[in-house]
């Protein structure tokens, strides 16, 4: 019976240990457990803020958050960074549906309009924003306009980030592409751009320029859409229910891209995002076409470079593809007026630090800074400030915007043309048939 008494005591010991463990578990993570399961909100003085900013943007945003925190010691700022794109917007939607949204969040303006349509965002009214200076007159008109959905304001723009042209000053100098004062010559025509890339290629011995292709439909879309918009084209209309792709214009742009890349070999047919930045920073390409955010990368590698607006290649009304970061208030029925005031103070504090934000290459939406001498001095970032009011956002649809399947469908087909795997005509029919599936589907938003 000795064995049995031993086994009993072992069992009771385990039982006891289990209870202690469970008790410890519940009391140990008490606050989080209670908040999550029982639905008790965070303490009143906490301001939760979600964003999707990584890399250099993330570093600068943390600096701005710290400055806010120091100036507002009575508020506990709880900033959460989530991974870019779908994971971020999915979590934002689900948190809002589950009535646990952050107080304030960053959203691309193209995505804010989708969230607004879905009823996920709180409308903002001019009267309550005015005391904080958050009025239309203080923002880039184009971005402020895009922050409205169906005539109502849902977002406060922080910046505009267009596609820009990076160029190596050493390569361009040798290629004779700089004028007397060291600025890049005008490249506003297909011939001028082709000639510049050809000259740069002679200097680098490898490529004239570089655009990321592999596994990167977004960049391909940025370049194609910019050229296509310059011809006056649109892709979607009527909230995405109609496809208004102009085949002739699209074919003209695709043929131009294919000519530069495949026929003339001025740009590589196969390079991924990281490879493209490396090619530019190591001088294997004289030009690099990407959104303005890679400025930090090339400052870090100490490459001799500068940036300017993407040229008006097709010479129509100037247009360039862009999106904007903005602040939104996810829907929260329990949010008090005092809490809203705190959020607006926070947004104003962020905008007041536009000088920090603008170092990341984005054109600040906050006009008091954008028109200042301090921004003028911020080179090369302020070189392309003029495009802020000529940018084009993705045509509105429930399936368009940054990180959307619209950009994927277009970008994949464009990349196939740029890599020489598909003819422009085949790519256009590919785009049409894929987009038709979306245009004919009832919006889930």
């Amino acid at each position: 019976m000795g064995a049995e008494s031993y086994s009993l005591s072992r069992r009771s010991l385990l039982r006891g240990a289990g209870l202690i463990g469970a008790g410890g578990l519940i009391s140990g993570c008490g606050s989080g457990f209670v908040t999550g399961v029982a639905g008790v909100g965070a303490p009143k003085n906490t301001l939760s803020y979600w964003n999707l900013l990584g890399g250099g943007d993330g570093v600068r945003m943390i600096a701005m958050e710290n400055a806010y925190q120091q100036a507002h010691p009575n508020v506990a700022l709880n900033a959460v960074v989530l991974s870019w794109g779908n994971p971020y917007y999915t979590k934002l939607s689900l948190a809002t549906l589950g009535n646990k949204p952050p107080d304030v969040a960053i959203s691309h303006l193209t995505r804010a309009s989708i969230l607004a349509r879905a009823g996920m965002l709180e409308p903002l009214n001019a009267a309550e924003l005015a005391p904080y200076g958050l009025t239309g007159g203080n923002f880039t008109p184009r971005a402020w306009n895009m922050a409205h959905t169906d005539g109502t304001l849902y977002a406060i723009p922080l910046d505009t980030h267009p596609l820009v042209m990076y160029y190596r000053t050493d390569v361009c100098k040798k290629a004779g592409l700089l004028d007397g004062s060291g600025n890049l010559k005008n490249l506003d025509s297909p011939d001028a751009l082709t000639a510049a890339l050809t000259a740069a290629k002679k200097v680098t011995g490898a490529y004239g320029g570089v655009v990321s292709i592999n596994n990167d439909s977004a960049t391909q879309w940025r370049v194609f859409s910019t050229l296509y918009y310059q011809l006056g084209g649109s892709v979607l209309a009527n909230d995405g229910q109609d496809i208004v792709l102009d085949d002739a214009k699209a074919e003209k742009v695709l043929s131009f891209i294919q000519d530069l890349v495949v026929k003339r070999g001025l740009l590589p047919t196969s390079v991924d995002y990281g490879g493209a930045t490396t090619m530019f920073s190591t001088g294997k390409a004289g030009f690099y076409f990407e959104g303005d955010w890679e400025i930090t990368t090339f400052e870090t590698t100490k490459s001799p470079f500068s940036m300017t607006a993407f040229p008006n290649v097709f010479g129509g009304t100037y247009a360039v593809q862009a999106d904007s970061h903005s602040f939104v208030l996810p829907r929260d029925p329990g949010r008090t007026d005092a809490r809203r005031q705190e959020i607006f103070r926070f947004i104003r504090s962020m905008l007041d630090q536009s000088s920090t934000w603008a170092q990341g290459g984005h054109i600040p939406a906050w006009l008091p800074f954008q028109t200042s001498a301090a921004y003028d001095k911020l080179k090369p970032a302020s070189n392309y400030r003029g495009v802020a009011n000529h940018v084009r956002y993705d045509d509105r649809a429930w399936y368009s915007g940054s990180g959307s399947d619209f950009e994927n469908i277009m970008g994949f087909a464009i990349a196939a043309v740029a890599a020489g795997q598909m003819s422009p005509a085949a790519a256009i029919s590919d785009m049409r048939s894929k987009l038709a599936l979306y245009a004919n589907t009832k919006s889930p938003v």
């Binding site: 069992r11 779908n86 999915t90 939607s93 689900l94 549906l97 989708i114 969230l115 879905a118 996920m120 292709i213 592999n214 596994n215 439909s217 590589p268 047919t269 196969s270 390079v271 991924d272 990281g274 490879g275 490396t278 429930w398 399936y399 990180g403 959307s404 399947d405 994927n408 994949f412 087909a413 990349a415 196939a416 890599a419 795997q421 598909m422 590919d430 894929k434 599936l437 979306y438 589907t441 009832k442 889930p444 938003v445």
Partner: protein, 314 residues
């Protein structure tokens, strides 16, 4: 267990008969008690969501709205079954399985036999062949993307060193992208099958080989007559586990090609991810994943019945 069937002649045995059922009931309770935490999680996070997914597949559910949304009947299933994108993604999943399963079974077997034959340094080869398996998919995808990088990648360097100056455009060529991911996957997951085969080989009694060599059988005859037949059960298990693992392809392709170039590698799970999370159409995504579930279920059932008949035959 067998003590309960003991013939009650001796006193000790009789007590065993009377005590055993009570004791067993107690053990059963303890068993359920120990399994309960797992069962609760199983119900909450597997059975529950699966049933919810079945229901959702008949509704126009959206990621942007709470609740199920409007009733759709069989519309979602009709849409999936008539969608060329759905079938294309299904084919990519099957193609990936066809590309990876044979090498992952055959190479694992060859390497296991090789390692098993070694007199010394066995631990080293076990470690080397198994090590890649513990690398997370994100790290593996990163490393292989670098290897495949055009012009500056190591593969292109190595190939040009042996005279192949015009290597394929690995991940960027629609004809090569799937094969490139498959090669990386074989390197990455080989270790698991390798270990299963190694365990299977160690089960085979050495005396069989001794007897065979006494009878004058060559190495090759021993392999065909002893090793391969006695590994049949292991092979059956490895093949089915591998098919199921390959059908679940998502991580590597999502990370290395995003389903490109031009959707030429998008597997079914990425299709479900795209329509569910990117396009917010969770109802339709649920229907597509139910159809995919049926495929996996069919494979599992085939294995279940063949292995049962094998066991009966044995």
């Amino acid at each position: 267990m067998s003590s309960t069937q003991a013939i009650p002649t001796a006193a000790g045995a009789r007590t065993a008969v009377t005590v055993a059922p009570r004791k067993r009931r107690g053990e059963g309770r303890a068993g359920w008690g120990l399994a309960t935490p797992f069962l609760i999680f199983y119900l909450l996070f597997l059975i529950g969501p699966t049933l919810y997914g079945v229901v959702m597949s008949f509704f126009n559910s959206s990621l942007q709205h709470s609740g199920l949304g409007g009733f759709a009947g069989a519309d979602n299933y009709t849409e999936a079954l008539t969608s060329s994108d759905f079938w294309q993604a299904m084919w990519h999943t099957v193609l990936f399985t066809l590309m990876t399963t044979p090498p992952l079974v055959v190479i694992a077997l060859v390497l296991a036999i090789f390692t098993d034959r070694l007199a010394r340094g066995r631990w080293f080869f076990r470690l080397v062949f198994f090590a890649p398996y513990v690398v997370p998919s994100a790290a593996m995808a990163l490393v292989w993307t670098w290897l495949y990088t055009p012009q500056i990648g190591l593969w292109d360097k190595w190939l040009s060193a042996v005279g192949i100056t015009n290597p394929p455009n690995w991940l960027a060529d629609p004809n090569w992208a799937m094969a490139s991911v498959a090669i990386a996957t074989v390197w990455w997951t080989l270790g698991f099958n390798f270990v299963l085969y190694l365990a299977g080989l160690q089960e085979i009694p050495r005396s069989l080989y001794e007897a065979a060599s006494v009878d004058g059988a060559t190495r090759w005859q021993q392999m065909r007559g002893i090793t391969i037949p006695l590994l049949r059960r292991t092979t059956g298990l490895v093949v089915v586990l591998q098919i199921i693992a390959s059908l679940k392809i998502f991580d590597q392709i999502f990370l290395m090609t995003s389903g490109g170039p031009n959707y030429s590698t998008r597997p079914l799970l990425e299709y479900v991810y795209d329509i569910g999370f990117t396009d917010f159409r969770t109802g339709y995504a649920a229907a597509a994943s139910m159809l995919y579930f049926l495929v996996i279920l069919a494979v599992s059932l085939v294995w279940f019945f063949t292995s049962r008949s094998q066991r009966k035959g044995a």
